[in-house]
């Protein structure tokens, strides 16, 4: 984002691909994107792309809970994200102030209000351990440093593939059983830069990227070291590794809201929960 903004009109990029929705929303809100063709937007499951059509989702990741069965049994896991701050889970979980954690915080502020979010964050800070990075959350749960950890789904799948399969890992992946902010889906977005001199080609590329037989097939079928176990987002396409996105019970929300996460930033910094 910083690079695209610094380049301004002189940018040599035609298409911008983000990992998280925040940066795409940020550039969209800054007026740097052309609108995506409606046909392209229709290829993707509803609710994942920019509501204003400024960028289109081309992949997705979900928030999850990792747990180490040698330290906690599946039956004892919290049923909702809100429950993890309960006293019985004190000193039992890790978290990381990543972009996805910031997005979760921003979502909570918008849906439950700032005061409730603050109370929840204080619980996270008091009861959990800040491991700084989602990858470290995964590694510490796997190593038995913590019983549970809040992270993103694909870190676990990537490690499983490196070790030779999910059965080679001690830790397991857990999705909260009901629709819950702990399962929040976050899109990876593609936007076309207004400054690009190749608008038609850029539209054609993004259309291919989101087509069920094009880029989506690639994301669905590629091994974890290529597509990193991301969920494809086109209707009817499922990942060979992480499964179908429709199985993830995430609440729906407008990801363009993540263009400005200043409230979350303020709250996290005030509580000293930043890296």
């Amino acid at each position: 984002v910083g690079q695209i903004q610094a380049e301004g009109a002189a940018s040599k990029a035609d298409v911008y691909l983000s990992e998280d929705p925040g940066p795409a929303a940020q550039l969209g809100a800054a007026g740097l994107f052309s609108k995506i063709a409606p046909a392209t937007l229709r290829q993707v499951r509803p609710g994942l792309s920019s509501g204003k059509g400024l960028w289109v989702a081309y992949a997705a990741r979900s928030r999850v809970l990792y747990y180490n069965p040698t330290l906690i049994s599946a039956a004892d896991l919290p049923k909702t994200l809100a429950d993890i701050v309960k006293p019985e889970y004190k000193d039992k979980f890790a978290w990381a102030p990543s972009g996805a954690f910031v997005a979760t915080t921003q979502y909570l502020i918008e849906t439950q209000g700032e005061a409730a979010t603050k109370t929840w964050l204080e619980g996270i800070k008091a009861n959990g351990a800040n491991e700084h990075k989602n990858g470290n959350v995964r590694d510490t749960v796997e190593a038995g440093r913590h019983a549970m950890g809040l992270s993103n789904h694909y870190y676990w799948w990537v490690l499983a593939s490196q070790k030779g399969g999910p059965d080679k890992l001690r830790s397991k992946i857990y999705h909260f059983p009901t629709v819950d902010p702990g399962n929040l889906i976050l899109s990876s977005g593609a936007g076309i830069l207004k400054s690009s001199k190749h608008q038609a080609e850029a539209q054609a590329f993004v259309e291919w990227l989101t087509a069920p037989s094009g880029g989506q097939r690639l994301i669905a079928d590629s091994p974890a070291d290529v597509a990193e176990a991301q969920y494809p987002v086109a209707v009817g396409v499922a990942s060979k590794i992480s499964g179908d996105l429709s199985e993830v019970k995430s609440p729906k929300f407008d990801m363009d809201e993540l263009a400005h996460s200043t409230q979350a930033e303020d709250l996290l910094k005030e509580l000293g929960m930043s890296s």
């Binding site: 984002v1 910083g2 690079q3 903004q5 610094a6 380049e7 301004g8 002189a10 940018s11 040599k12 925040g22 940066p23 940020q26 102030p97 990543s98 972009g99 954690f101 910031v102 491991e131 700084h132 990075k133 470290n136 590694d139 510490t140 190593a143 038995g144 440093r145 593939s161 490196q162 070790k163 030779g164 080679k168 070291d225 996460s261 200043t262 979350a264 930033e265 910094k269 005030e270 000293g272 930043s274 890296s275």
Partner: protein
């Protein structure tokens, strides 16, 4: 050279140096140009975590500096001033951790902790993190200290020893004060590394200003705050620059007489020569052990599914080497006016110029990159996205290291060839050279003395012989042969030449390792044939 020619040359050097300093200030200029003000920095102090990150940054910088001085000076004394076995091999081993970036060794140490003691905070505590970082960074202190130890006038130590016969008198009153400039140069590199380090800090669980800058960019997309905090970081680094300057310019060593030095005296370790060498191996083993162990373990894991694609590794190595060579060449060339100016004329303006070159070293590379993106797209769009911009970034990052080591080299060159010019025949006949040590503790004064041959305004220095072709290093070493110490003297000079390694080492570890090997080979064969002559040029 005529006086007029000299003046012109000096002015050109000064202008070149100022231009180079301006280039290295690019990221700082960008920070201001992007519209941040001091009030933006003040508003960050509204969050208590900013203060704690600032304290953590200062604390880590201090603790790592102290540890690297202890390890670096200790190892340097061992190889340069004692009769320990295999000093050359030990020198190479002690310098080796330079080849492993801090992020890699920290990740290895962190992984090892998770593997064996997952519930303990061995390396993720303040003390543990300081130790891991110090073991990665101490060669930056070790190398200049080895060079400096070889140039201290033994006559000074003898005087000190004769006045107070206690064993540590020399060390306290001559050696350590004379090492101050080298320690200060090394600590400066170490401290700025700690300040700007990101990856290692994250792995070691430390929150510093740099991790906050990165969090602002990566987690919040808040580039304005990232720039504000970077400016604060630049402020902290100015503090470090000032402190190391004061340390470098406070000293006690004075010269006894003119001329170059005899070889240093060595403390005999007696029958402890071997045991002490073995114990000292703890340092490189602790520094490299986790990396070597975890890498071997990963590559031999029967369950691993990740295949190492050697062609990819090869092409990456090739492009890394290309960028490293280009950056090293340009940095060496650009550093020259700065180091030359500050060595020849230690005026306030030359010294401030030299300090400014360091500022960029303390700013996170991501901010430096943004600065170059911004400036390249706005000023020279045709250069943007070409390798030249990347090379410029490397040059700005490594320029200070080139300057630092060129200063050490220029200082040596002048001591070796500048003041006691003598024809080779004379050198061969001389068995005991008149001793002279530069007033190391007082660079300002020392450089005036050094520059005295060329500058009419410098204090008058007694010059007993007319200017005649002077000796090169090899002639000195040849001369040393007649003192019965040729191999050792040559090794010492050659190892002095390893001074350029750190910058290169970070850019291309393999190249550095090869260079180290080359140094060893060079050290082993005194090339007697290469006798160079210097005319009455600037040397």
């Amino acid at each position: 050279m005529t006086l007029r020619g000299h003046r012109l040359g000096s002015t050109a050097t000064a202008l070149g140096a100022v231009a180079v300093a301006a280039l290295s200030l690019t990221p700082v200029i960008y920070l201001f140009a992007s519209g941040i003000s001091l009030s933006d920095i003040r508003s960050e102090f509204h969050y208590p975590s900013t203060v704690s990150a600032l304290l953590q940054t200062v604390g880590l910088t201090a603790s790592v500096s102290v540890l690297t001085v202890a390890i670096g000076v200790g190892c340097a004394l061992l190889v340069a001033r004692t009769t320990v076995v295999l000093p050359r091999l030990l020198t190479v081993l002690f310098a080796l951790p330079l080849a492993v970036p801090g992020f890699v060794s920290s990740y290895a140490a962190y992984s090892a902790q998770l593997l064996y003691v997952p519930r303990l905070d061995l390396v993720t505590s303040f003390t543990g993190a300081s130790l891991v970082l110090a073991l990665t960074l101490y060669p930056y202190v070790f190398l200049p200290c080895v060079v400096a130890l070889r140039t201290i006038d033994p006559a000074l130590e003898e005087v000190a020893a004769s006045l107070r016969p206690q064993r540590l008198t020399r060390l306290r009153h001559v050696v350590l004060p004379a090492l101050r400039p080298a320690i200060a140069a090394g600590v400066l590199i170490v401290a700025l590394h700690v300040i700007a380090e990101y990856g290692a800090m994250v792995q070691l669980g430390q929150t510093t200003l740099t991790t906050k800058v990165m969090a602002e960019m990566l987690n919040y997309g808040d580039y304005q705050t990232a720039r504000s905090l970077s400016l604060l970081l630049a402020g902290v680094s100015m503090l470090v620059l000032a402190i190391t300057w004061i340390v470098a310019t406070t000293g006690t060593a004075k010269q006894v007489a003119h001329g170059s030095n005899r070889p240093a005296t060595f403390t005999s370790l007696g029958r402890w020569r071997l045991p002490i060498a073995l114990v000292s191996l703890v340092v490189p083993i602790a520094a490299l052990g986790p990396t070597v162990f975890m890498t071997t373990r990963g590559l031999t894991d029967p369950n691993r599914s990740v295949v190492v694609d050697w062609s990819t590794v090869g092409s990456a190595l090739w492009s890394t080497t290309g960028y490293a060579v280009a950056a090293a060449l340009v940095a060496t060339l650009l550093a020259f006016p700065v180091s030359w100016w500050v060595t020849r004329r230690a005026t306030r303006s030359s010294m401030i110029t030299e300090r400014l070159v360091w500022l960029a070293h303390a700013i996170p590379s991501a901010i430096l990159a943004l600065a170059l993106v911004y400036l390249a797209t706005h000023l020279v769009p045709s250069f943007y996205k070409t390798p030249s911009v990347l090379v410029i970034a490397y040059v700005i990052l490594f320029l200070p290291l080139a300057v630092a080591y060129q200063r050490v080299g220029l200082g040596r060159r002048r001591r070796v060839t500048g003041h006691r010019p003598a024809p080779p025949v004379r050198a061969h006949l001389t068995t005991a050279r008149p001793a002279r040590v530069r007033g190391r503790g007082d660079p300002g004064r020392a450089r005036c003395l050094e520059g005295a041959d060329d500058h009419v305004d410098a204090p008058a220095v007694q010059r007993p012989h007319p200017v005649v072709p002077t000796l090169g290093d090899h002639e000195r070493r040849v001369a040393g042969l007649h003192r019965g110490g040729a191999v050792r003297a040559d090794a010492r000079a050659a190892r002095g030449g390893t001074g350029v390694l750190p910058g290169a080492a970070r850019a291309a570890p393999r190249r550095a390792a090869a260079a180290l090997r080359a140094t060893r080979t060079k050290a082993a064969e005194p090339r007697l044939a290469h006798v160079r002559r210097y005319g009455d040029g600037p040397c």
